[in-house]
Amino acid sequence: MGDTRGGCCPPMDLFRSETMQLVQLIIPMESARLTVYYLGKLGLLQFKDLNSDKSPFQRTYAGQIKKCGEMARTLRFFKEQMLKAGVSPSAKSVEETEIDVDDLEVKLAELEAELTEMNANGEKLQRSYNELVEYKIVLRKAGDFFPSAQHSATARQREMELNQMVEESIETPLLQEQGTSTDLSKQVKLGFVTGLVSRGKSMAFERILFRATRGNVFLEQVPIEAPITDPVSGEKMEKNVFMVFYSGERAKNKILKICDAFGANRYPFAEDCGKQALMISEVSGKISELKSTIDAGLLHRDHLLRTISDQFEQWNLKVKKEKSIHHTLNMLSLDVTKKCLVAEAWSPVFATKQIQDVLQRASVDSNSQVGAIFQVLHTRESPPTYFRTNKFTSAFQEIVDAYGVAKYQEANPGVYTIVTFPFLFAVMFGDWGHGICLLLATLFFIIREKKLSSQKLGDITEMTFGGRYVIMMMSLFSIYTGFIYNECFSVAFDLFAPSAYACRDLSCRDAYSIGLIKVRDTYPFGVDPAWHGTRSELPFLNSLKMKMSILLGVAQMNLGILLSYSNATFFGNSLNIWFQFIPQMIFLNSLFGYLSLLIIVKWCTGSQADLYHIMIYMFLSPTDELGDNQLFPYQKTVQLVLLLLALVSVPWMLLPKPFLLKKRHENRHQGQSYTQVQGTDDALSEAKHDSHGHGHEEFEFSEVFVHQLIHTIEFVLGAVSNTASYLRLWALSLAHSQLSIVFYEKVLLLAWGYNNMVILVVGIIIFIFATVGVLLIMETLSAFLHALRLHWVEFQNKFYEGDGYKFYPFSFILIDDEDY
């Protein structure tokens, strides 16, 4: 396709995507890995999956991928451990020392084993440490509780005995009597269990204990103030110290089981005070001993992690690269002899030399006896679209790609977007004060570009950062349009010269521009500041901006149609030139091109003609006299001719193309059958080739016709509605300037008028927030979206197909971002 281009026009490389070719590589098995590694470094080949029918584990290099997955898992494990220990991976060491993958695998496995062992030991120690800490707490709390409980218990017992002696009546419950009597006789057998239970479960614990023993327990719980670490789970939780008193063996078993079920840790406890003190001191000694052991262990572990962290990023990158290499290798098909791999890949034509060099180098470096074979395949398949962009143009290209990736070698609107997008934005955002604020913000990003691009940013910041050059262009253009509109935070300045107008007398103070007389030359650039604040400011600016919007719109749509011409010549499609481009040009320009002409004539002559009237009556009664609205001689005749041309161009767009296509198809079909009857080998092969080339031989006339009908209707209606759509330029610009006037006058000037420091400060703060929040952020966003729409819909629907697919080369630079 690329070589059949017509020679009539310059190649316009800038807005065509790179010429691509499908290449076949035959790589000997022994140098395959190295070759793919070098190719990945080069990053200019998009491999085709030749094994798509095989599942991942049936492919040649499934084993290696599994290995890489295992290594990646180990690395994730290290990362998690480092995160827990608070060791951050060191900054990327760019220099890449060559480590063998197998060595790396062994090393990683060793390190992992070492680390897990250390963790296990540490955990064991930590566990016993936590247990001891818990034990100590139990000893303390229970130790506090015992004497006091005993004290109160004896007191109560005495009281009870007294009671019994005093009033032994029928009302005394029998059970209680029994209870006390057993208590008295078997006091020695009253056992108890002490331990810790988490506070959340303590209520249920108590309930179950009560139920299980039918209330024959005495439970005492003391909350511990600070949360402590649970030995089993290793998590911090709030706990209660509990003591359960029971009698009997069965109850004991039940209680023990319940304790287990609730994950309550039991600790032995001695009743004797002396023993308690002894135990406490013993436990404290053990704790400090363990503590030092644990600290030493942790230090050792930290050391290990630090050594890992030094090389972590490098290993990570290495593993990722290795995995991607094998993924790529898996896409290659194995030769019948199993000695070489066959790859098919898309590559840009300019890279041929580089690729061949790389192949050469790989075969030399891997001591392979046979070099890799590189050959170009011919195919009818549509190649991927590849634009070479830099950091400035890529954001603009992305704006276009977001709508649709360009068809292979179709005219790329991205080139024009670099200027038209910020410009249309600025028409809606014309205020040089706001423009400067925006410029400062984006300059901050651009100056710190290196630093910011290496770190992760938030979602919104990332987006802004990615579009920093777009925003820079937008702000520069809005400073420019701001000078034209003469607005800075809605205030007009006479920067370029004093205003051309002055008051005739004192009576013109009340903001009427009629009382002004011209005293100097016309204001050299933009709108004269004298308009600002007058009553006729709005009608004047509206008329100016509305007409300007139409001029810009018609210009951009014409550009779009011209691009469709360039596409048609490039792909050698003369039908599209004669029956699409030319009538479209005529239709648009005879109506709206004429309107633009009228606008310019009106501006130049200062005529008072009513353009609405002219346009409307050009359709309604084209033969009527124009009267006052005549702008130039023979205007009526010109209008009649234009109207006729517009009317003619509609069927011109609609009818010939489908019929010509049908005829062309029939011709081709006849020719084919004719040659087949001849039966020569030559003709047969040609016919075969032909039918192969135009795979969609089925020609459905009705379908083509309906398609053309839709296109025609869309264009005719679109010419009107798209032109109207460009009026959004005026509307948003108006909204922006009015909003900023409101904030300026109703907030800042109002606050100023009070002559009060506090009110002034509050007013300034509100003004700043309103300006930043509403005008700089929200208005920017809305103007951005409207500019986007004007490009995607009004501009690109004139020529852009956008049904291509992107060139996605196998490259190590790209794998860095993705995680797989």
Binding site: A62, A204, R211, K257, F262
Partner: protein, 351 residues
Amino acid sequence: MYGFEAMTFNIHGGYLEAIVRGHRAGLLTAADYNNLCQCETLDDMKMHLSATEYGPYLQNEPSPLHTTTIVEKCTLKLVDEYKHMLCQATEPLSTFLEYITYGHMIDNVVLIVTGTLHERDVQELLEKCHPLGMFDSIATLAVAQNMRELYRLVLVDTPLAPYFSECITSEDLDDMNIEIMRNTLYKAYLEDFYKFCQKLGGATAEIMSDLLAFEADRRAVNITINSIGTELTRDDRRKLYSNFGLLYPYGHEELAVCEDIDQVRGAMEKYPPYQSIFSKLSYGESQMLDKAFYEEEVKRLCLAFEQQFHYGVFFAYMRLREQEIRNLMWISECVAQNQKSRVHDSVVFIF
């Protein structure tokens, strides 16, 4: 109001229905199963599963893998999804979702009680419990000696308490008793669930009653087959059947007196929906019955997704995922034990 769910359903249920339908789209397809069945090792399976929704759950597992790890992780995913849905749900959907787990709760209770009866370690048993059927004091079940204690100590706090009213006896627990308890509980649970769905009304009632009826009938058949040749009397058997479903009440009368599998078959073939299940089996065979029932169930569960604005999708999704996990367990067992010829014996394709 039947037929008018569309007006109000999405106010509370729309988000979750979208979620559950999204989850359903992540179920393994027949192509996935075909690939999985060709795996040589468990690592192959892991590699294949890592491309599915199970990926994040399996990626940090060191090899060599075990079947239990795969099943555990897959279940974990289901549990995570369930918990997420439960967190987002409002009444009555949250109650509906909770009902789904009661079956697992009953199984867990039975598992623990049987385990303790055979002197197994409680912690070990707890690990075997289905995570969906866990409740706070489940470990305490080990303390109980008989049904009455079981109820009074532990289950009175759980949602299962009302189902216990029929089986409180002071008998000591033994295998037979426990099995009867399980079935009585299940019966009460299914009936309660059925009633609840009827109360919800609308499409939910219609679809759920169909699904639950199938479940009840399947249980009835299983109870009959399992009790053939045991000392369970006819009346006792009759008592274990749920009081709804296609077989209720006449089919139950017939099933209650069945003495062998062919009589069961005779009783069941009178019901057209079950005729197709039994017609696949040869006479005297009961091995493949489970699979046949599972296949029929999966078919019905998939149909539940055809209609919108009802809660049946949640039930269906949970069941389908469980079936999928069963499939994965079977496949991975076959792969691990090199019995690949038997892979297709028990796998039920979902799509």
